[in-house]
Structure formats: C-alpha cells, structure tokens
C-alpha cells in the first residue's frame, strides 16, 4: 500500500477544482478508463462538498486528501476536523422525490465500491475512506 498523492486545501468551494485535479491524475495513473475517472472525480468532489456544506457548515478548516494505491483498488481518504459524523447519518434521498439537493450521497454510493469512516488517530474530526476496485475485483456495498 502506497500513498500516491497528498493535498491539503481550505474547506472552501473555490478549492474543489484542486481536489478534482488530483483525483483525476491519480485515477488516470492507476489505469481506470475515462468514464470511471470522470465518475471518481465526481464522487470525491461530492464527499468534499459534504465536508464544506455540512461538516464545517461555513466555518474554516482544512480538507486533507490522500490517494492510496493498492494492488486491487484505489482509495481516497478525506480527513477533516469537523464534528464527527456517523455513517448512519448518510441519507440518500428517494430519487423519485424531485427536489434540489440530497444527490451527493447517492452519487458517492453509486460510484464507489466501499464507503466508510476510519478511526482518526486522536478521535477528532473524520477520516472518510472511498474505495474503488479494479473491474472484477470488488464487491458493491
């Protein structure tokens, strides 16, 4: 397991494009096809949006992204210093309910193979893991 890339940006919307660029480069280098790269960029962007909008909710703080390359999967780890969130708080909305908002969680779950929170070293903030297996390697959750 090797950490391929690291990026730390302020949790502000104008920095999301920097996160997307890192994800795109890492996913391309890992060998995912163009469509998969595009989807991974969207999923990580949505997770970071959640940190900005719901985690920090207007407060300042960092978002740290790590890309971990594994033999069978690529993992994006997103670290923040916002109030801890439980996976049970992630609610995708009913897609038949046509209204603005609430799509980010659906996108993440649809695109990624594994989504979970990992323990943080000091029990503060959150460490979200988004994992995508190579085709034929993973299990949908």
């Amino acid at each position: 397991m090797a950490v391929e890339q690291r990026l730390e940006v302020p949790a502000q919307p104008e920095h999301l494009h920097e996160i997307r660029e890192v994800v795109q480069r890492a996913a391309e280098a890992y060998g995912f096809d163009k469509d998969c790269v595009r989807d991974l960029v969207l999923a990580v962007n949505e997770a970071c949006m959640n940190v900005i909008q719901h985690g920090y909710a207007g407060r300042n703080g960092p978002i740290r992204l790590e890309v971990v390359s594994q033999p069978d999967a690529i993992e994006f780890r997103i670290r923040d210093e916002a109030a801890p969130v439980a996976m049970s708080a992630w609610k995708a909305r009913d897609l038949n309910d046509i209204r603005p908002g609430g799509l980010g969680v659906h996108f993440i779950r649809e695109i990624m193979d594994e989504v979970c929170y990992l323990p943080t070293p000091d029990n503060t903030g959150n460490l979200l893991s988004l994992k995508k297996y190579q085709i034929g390697q993973g299990m949908d959750v």
């Binding site: 997307r20 897609l95 046509i98 908002g101 799509l103």
Partner: protein, 109 residues
C-alpha cells in the same frame, strides 16, 4: 464557469460553460431563476459544460420546479456527454425535457 443569457424569440437561453461546481453554480442558478422570475420560458444550454456536480444539478431542478409553478416552458438543450452522465446518475435524464439544441426546442413549440 461562464454564464450568459441570450434571447431567442420569446425564450431566454441561459448558456453555461466549463465546470459547474459548488463555487460556480450559484451564478448559473441566479441567472436561471431571474429569467423565470421575469416570466420568460427558459432553455438552459449545457453544450459546453465539461463538469457538473450535485450543486449544479440542484440549480437545474430548482429552475424546473419554478417553471412548473409559473407554468413556463423549461428545457435543457445540447446537453454535453459529461452533463448527461450526471443527469443519468441522478435519474433525471427522463425528468427534464431535453432537446438537441435551441432550434430543436423552438421547432417543437
């Protein structure tokens, strides 16, 4: 992202281009809603959109709903492959009226 409004017959055509994300989507949302608040049928041209996230999609949904409330025509035109992929993920590709381009919509009126 860049955003501009053109007039085509009675229609306002909101042309969005580039990357629509949490940083830029408020600008597009404001234009779409302003056209509808002015009482204009509105088309949103997504042909030059290279990326759109859920905040951009939310702006389109908001426009769609306001148009319905106000009984105004609202459609997406020239939807790029990148934008269509996200609309499909959201299962919204069958909800929004989608046309190949502005002329195709105007011809169908």
């Amino acid at each position: 992202m860049t955003a501009e409004v053109k007039m085509e017959q009675d229609y306002a055509v909101v042309c969005l281009s580039g990357e629509i994300d949490l940083h830029s989507s408020p600008q597009g949302r404001k234009l779409i809603l302003a056209c509808l608040h002015d009482g204009r049928p509105t088309l949103v041209d997504l042909s030059a959109v290279s990326y759109i996230d859920s905040s951009g999609v939310a702006s389109l949904v908001e426009g769609f709903q306001l148009a319905r409330e106000r009984k105004l025509d609202f459609a997406l035109v020239g939807v790029s492959a990148a934008a269509l992929n996200v609309l499909k993920l959201a299962r919204l590709d069958k909800v929004f009226p989608i046309y190949a381009n502005v002329q195709a919509r105007l011809a169908a009126v």
